[in-house]
């Protein structure tokens, strides 16, 4: 669905050339749900702009849906949906209903098809009551749901999302995520999700790409990232009584009343071993095991600590 080879983009600035994307390669198969992460200025949006035909690459090859984006911009636009979290693609002053009608005209969707598809989207995204409301009066969560509906109304093969959950409350985030997961499963839409919210990525993406300084520094599953970089886990122990506790093979990192936190390295000792040792020596009220936080791992990768 997407092929990127040796892709580069150099911006000429007053302070000399800046290499925003410094030669990246990847392929995305049809139906994949890919998270694209990286610190600000890493080259994320430049890559997405080259894939969507907004920017011309300085070098390398990019193909989306078998089309060269900048050369066949309009043809690609018919097969592609785009949602920018911080900007609207809807008609601000008009009732939401009219935005959907205009999208129908723009993408030449026959009216009957549009209505059928819209009825389904209205159900899933709970848009019904919003249709007569001017877009400017929608809440951010309502607007985001409407943006998604407008973007997928033409049934795109590939969907580029830029921070679709930014600023949303927990419930609205969940609605957006549920919808995207469902869309990917039932319609096989290929999704590229650019985000800072790693929760979005762990919940939705089968694959994660991390870019930094214009280069891909990670491309694989979220699980593989955890095992590769998340070498330490934390055992949280609630003791039956407040007493000193030492555990061979684990480092105490925190204590609060009868609760203790022990950090241990995955490849030095197993959780089972540690728990066996603990239960042999102390009376324990409760136990939990904390997996490495993906956000922590990614932050460490950005800082170059791994």
């Amino acid at each position: 669905m997407i092929e990127v080879e040796g892709l580069r983009k150099v911006f000429r600035t007053r302070r000399g050339p800046v290499e925003a994307v410094a030669g990246i390669d990847f392929r995305v198969a049809a139906g994949e749900f890919v998270g694209y992460a990286g610190p600000n200025g890493a080259g994320k949006s430049t890559t997405v702009k080259m894939m969507s035909g907004i920017l011309l690459p300085s070098a390398g090859r990019v193909e989306v849906c078998g089309l060269v984006p900048y050369r066949e911009r309009k043809r690609l636009a018919r097969r592609m949906g785009v949602v920018f979290g911080q900007r609207t693609q809807l008609w601000w002053d008009l009732p939401l209903q009219e935005s959907f009608e205009l999208v129908g005209h723009l993408y030449r969707i026959p009216a009957a098809d549009r209505l059928r598809r819209l009825r389904r989207l209205e159900d899933v995204l709970a848009l019904g009551p919003l249709l007569p409301v001017p877009v400017r009066s929608l809440s951010l969560g309502q607007r985001m749901r409407a943006e998604l509906a407008a973007a997928v109304l033409p049934a795109p093969q590939v969907l580029f999302l830029d921070e679709p959950t930014i600023g949303l409350d927990v419930e609205a985030k969940a609605a957006v995520r549920d919808f995207l997961g469902e869309l990917n499963r039932t319609e096989g839409t290929t999704v590229i999700l650019t985000t800072h919210d790693l929760d979005d990525i762990t919940r939705l993406c089968s694959r994660l790409m991390i870019i930094d300084h214009g280069r891909l520094i990670y491309d694989g599953t979220v699980e593989a990232l955890r095992t590769a970089y998340g070498t330490t886990r934390v055992l949280v122990v609630d003791l039956a009584e407040d007493e000193p506790l030492e555990l061979a093979g684990a480092v105490p990192v925190r204590a609060e009343g009868r609760r203790r936190w022990f950090q241990f390295a995955r490849d030095e000792v197993s959780a089972a071993e540690l728990i066996a040792r603990l239960l042999a020596s102390n009376e324990v009220a409760d136990l939990t095991l904390e997996e490495p936080d993906i956000e922590d791992i990614v932050r460490r990768i950005y800082r170059g600590e791994t």
Binding site: F11, T46, I54, R73, M80, D93, L102
Partner: protein, 269 residues
């Protein structure tokens, strides 16, 4: 532009519906656009009246030229108002233009249709009204030919204003910063070119007729409307050149716009 024009009609209709949702505001803006014409024309009348005539033209005849120019401006701005440098600059800086490029339409068609501003009908109609009023005062006996010449002048003047805006917009894609300089050129230039051409010396006259052909678009057809003879070198029959000249100017503006888009897609911002 392979896609049917219908898409752009839908976009323009949406823009009109959006402004029509606040009718009082729209009416006020339309009235303001018309009043500008009235005040400017009053200024010209007061000025010319002091001298009696300008280059042998009576006030009503000079006002006719201004009426044609304003009507042309109104027609051009009806579609081209967003092409003004600071507005294009905003489209670029807010990322709106990136979004336009992800739509299956021509970016120029999108921008023109989506930002149709009906308040400039006020300027167009006030300009046309000025022409009718001035022609009446100047004792013009309307014939189909004379009405056709007046319409030609309006359309050609509009085309030239639009072409200058288009070129300026293309330029703004490169600089990103909106520049007042362009507005000075567009409106100041047109203002100067709205006076009878014989008051200018050969260099300026050459500029207004053959380089930025406002004079060819407005003054020369007006000679025919008023039944006057032009100064040496500017006979009334040159009016038939107004349309091709405006067309050529538009083509040049179109090239500048395209160059601007190419630059934008090449470098982003």
């Amino acid at each position: 532009m392979a896609e049917p024009a219908r898409v752009y009609l839908h976009l323009a209709a949406a823009a009109v519906r959006a402004t029509a949702r606040r009718p009082a505001y729209l009416a006020m803006r339309t009235l303001a656009a018309a009043l500008i014409v009235v005040f400017e024309v009053a200024g010209v009348v007061l000025l010319v009246d002091r001298f009696g005539t300008i280059g042998g033209w009576r006030p009503a005849e000079v006002v006719l030229l201004f009426g044609l120019a304003f009507a042309g401006q109104g027609l051009a701005l009806l579609f081209g108002d967003t092409l003004e440098a600071d507005k294009v600059s905003q489209l670029v800086r807010r990322g709106t233009f990136d979004q336009v490029l992800t739509r299956p339409v021509s970016p120029l068609g999108w921008v023109l249709a989506s930002y149709v501003d009906t308040r400039f009908l006020g300027r167009l109609l006030a300009g046309a009204g000025t022409v009718v009023w001035a022609a009446n005062r100047a004792g013009v006996a309307w014939t189909p030919g004379r009405a056709g010449l007046a319409a030609l002048a309006v359309v050609c003047a509009a085309t030239i204003v639009f072409a200058v805006l288009l070129a300026a917009a293309g330029f703004t894609f490169v600089t990103v910063q909106g520049s007042e300089a362009v507005n000075v050129l567009v409106y100041g230039g047109q203002y100067l070119a709205s006076y009878p051409m014989q008051i200018y010396g050969p260099p300026l006259r050459f500029l207004f007729v053959w380089v930025v052909p406002f004079g060819l678009a407005i003054y020369v057809p007006a000679l025919g409307v008023l039944g006057r003879q032009g100064p040496p070198g500017l006979p009334a029959w040159l009016a038939w050149l107004a349309a091709p000249a405006a067309g050529a100017f538009l083509a040049a503006g179109g090239l500048a716009w395209r160059a601007g888009i190419r630059h934008y897609v090449g470098t982003g911002s």
